[in-house]
């Protein structure tokens, strides 16, 4: 796929569809492409962090910096693959894997107590002290059978988070 083309060929669309396991319809991929080109102001072929932050709703999200690390500089195909975790038809393990990756900021496959504390700090800002976060986290972890020194793997996350109430769905508007 060309980096700065403003039209998608049928081949490009099918290629992207294949890579996201056919979670998106062809119309949705065209819509996403229009959005991608809208955010990528100078047609570089990827969206820079600054361009993501120019969307006010994104910039004011407490986890925006963590997500930026994952989406900064993605080309269109990887952009769609990233968003496919939010597709209503995506599997629960795929969604939980994305959540895991947000916590596992050093990509070593393990989420430690410290990693979880950092995410909680992002979410609570200045409204919870480190001590309050630490105490609360130790309490719930022990009740779930983990200790402060445990490292959680992806399987642990799946075990903990997999329940029908987990909804992580974003609809792609198709005009």
């Amino acid at each position: 796929m060309g980096s700065a083309s403003s039209t998608l060929t049928q081949y490009d669309i099918e290629d992207v569809q294949e890579h996201c396991n056919n979670l998106y319809s062809q119309q949705e991929i065209v819509s996403l492409y229009k959005r991608f080109c809208q955010l990528d102001r100078n047609a570089k072929g990827f969206i820079s962090a600054d361009e993501f932050l120019s969307v006010p709703e994104f910039a004011m999200n407490p986890l925006s910096q963590r997500l930026l690390k994952m989406v900064d500089g993605l080309n269109f195909k990887d952009f769609v693959i990233f968003l496919s975790a939010f597709n209503p038809k995506a599997s629960m393990p795929q969604k939980i894997e994305l959540i895991f990756k947000v916590y596992d900021s050093d990509y070593n496959g393990k989420v430690t107590f410290k990693d979880i504390m950092e995410v909680l700090r992002d979410l609570s800002g200045s409204f919870m002290s480190d001590k309050q976060i630490e105490e609360g986290l130790i309490k719930v972890m022990e009740e779930a059978g983990y200790s402060k020194d445990s490292s959680l793997l992806l399987d642990d996350f799946v075990k903990i988070l997999d329940h029908p109430g987990l909804k992580m769905e974003v609809e792609v508007p198709v005009d």
């Binding site: 996403l32 959005r35 809208q38 955010l39 102001r41 993501f52 932050l53 120019s54 969307v55 006010p56 709703e57 994104f58 910039a59 004011m60 999200n61 407490p62 986890l63 925006s64 997500l67 989406v71 968003l83 939010f86 969604k95 994305l98 959540i99 947000v102 916590y103 979880i116 995410v119 909680l120 979410l123 609570s124 800002g125 200045s126 409204f127 919870m128 309050q132 609360g136 986290l137 309490k139 719930v140 972890m141 009740e143 779930a144 983990y146 996350f157 903990i160 988070l161 329940h163 987990l166 909804k167 992580m168 769905e169 974003v170 609809e171 792609v172 508007p173």
Partner: protein, 371 residues
């Protein structure tokens, strides 16, 4: 959620509670005991972020709609080519001619009036006003502007202010050809700036600079002085502070609404069939924008002069601004969005993130107490 209060010296731009406009917080706040699953589940926050990446109401306000390409076939293509020839070869030179004649007439009257009548201020002012209205009419003619004015014409009275939605700088010209308003504008570079500092000075214009913090207080004072003066031209303000694509309105700045004056709303709606009059200042210079208008078929728009509004007892300036914005939006068929137009140039204030963080923290702490 308490209303955001700001002091005059803050750079933060005042706005009503955004939470009133956005969809209800998807972060559930149940009162059950907190488990590890609840603490680790960041899916609502991630969903909001991904939703914003996929589509957001702020970027929609500044999307210029590219013209739909025609369905080419053997009959339509030559017709379109003929259209291009007519527009660029006949209409455009004709319009340039009209505009040039207009400028010649204008300058040959304005300069003598400005110089020779220095002592007779009242007469000079009246003549200069009429001349400015004249040159604006020439501009409008140069785009084959078809403007339908509805409602009673504005009159010059003290203690009143006119506000309108903003799509392009031509809004000002379209309104000015009917009534010589004084306007508050961002100082522009180039030939526009030259026009601003010479001709527009004579109708009484106020300049501001978006990037200067102290500027707001100075401008607020100038606004007040202008509105209270008896001899000044009626003041026109575009409270959105930036050009929006004529499908949406962004939040109105409260400056125009706390002058203690009657606010007369004006709604402007351009007919997109003929040309998209939205000036996307990020994509084109004003000169390019004008040239684009001059090579289109016509600029067709409706202007509604709406009923003057006064601040209701117990209403804050922000509520007043939002009430007037909804009057204008309903009249012109525009959707209202809860964003500050200046977010085009700067990042959102940390206050929004902080209110989300606060509600998260409170919920967690409360649920930790539950047995």
């Amino acid at each position: 959620m308490s209303k955001l209060t700001t002091s005059r010296s803050e750079l933060d731009l005042d706005r009503p509670n955004i939470e009133d406009y956005l969809p209800p917080d998807s972060i559930q706040q149940p009162h059950t005991k907190l488990r590890l699953r609840d603490l680790l589940d960041i899916s609502p926050t991630l969903t909001e972020a991904a939703g914003a990446i996929v589509d957001d109401s702020f970027t929609r306000c500044f999307k210029s709609n590219p013209p739909e390409p025609w369905n080419w076939n053997i009959y339509l293509f030559p017709l379109w080519c003929l259209g291009v020839v007519v527009r660029y070869g006949i209409l455009f030179p004709g319009r340039v001619l009209i505009l040039t004649i207009g400028w010649i007439i204008f300058l040959s009257c304005y300069i003598p009036v400005h110089v020779l009548l220095k002592g007779h201020d009242k007469l000079r002012k009246r003549l200069e006003r009429a001349l400015v209205e004249l040159i604006c009419s020439f501009f409008v003619a140069s785009w084959t502007g078809v403007v339908k004015y509805h409602g009673p014409r504005p009159c010059a009275r003290p203690k009143q202010v006119f506000v309108a939605n903003h799509t392009s700088m031509i809004d000002f010209i379209v309104l000015e050809q009917m009534t010589a308003f004084a306007v508050i504008m961002q100082k522009h570079p180039g030939w526009v700036g030259l026009l601003q500092s010479t001709i527009l000075e004579s109708v009484g214009c106020i300049w501001f600079n978006r990037s200067e913090a102290k500027d707001r207080e100075i401008v607020a004072r100038k606004l007040r002085e202008h509105v209270e003066g008896t001899d000044n031209n009626p003041l026109l303000i575009f409270p959105e502070g930036t050009c929006v694509n004529n499908n949406y309105t962004v939040m109105f700045k409260k400056g125009a609404f706390e002058l203690g004056a009657t606010v007369c709303p004006i709604a402007i709606k351009y007919n997109k069939i003929f040309v998209d009059a939205f000036w996307n200042s990020r994509k084109q210079s004003f000169t390019t924008h004008l040239l684009q208008l001059m090579t289109s078929w016509a600029v067709v728009c409706d202007v509604w002069y709406l009923e003057p509004q006064n601040m209701k007892p117990g209403e804050t300036a922000i509520e007043f601004a939002e009430r007037v914005r909804s009057i204008i939006s309903i009249r012109a068929g525009l959707k209202m969005v809860p964003w500050d137009g200046y977010l085009k140039y700067s990042r959102p204030s940390p206050k929004h993130r902080e209110s989300k963080q606060q509600s998260f923290a409170e919920s967690v702490l409360r649920r930790l107490e539950e047995k």
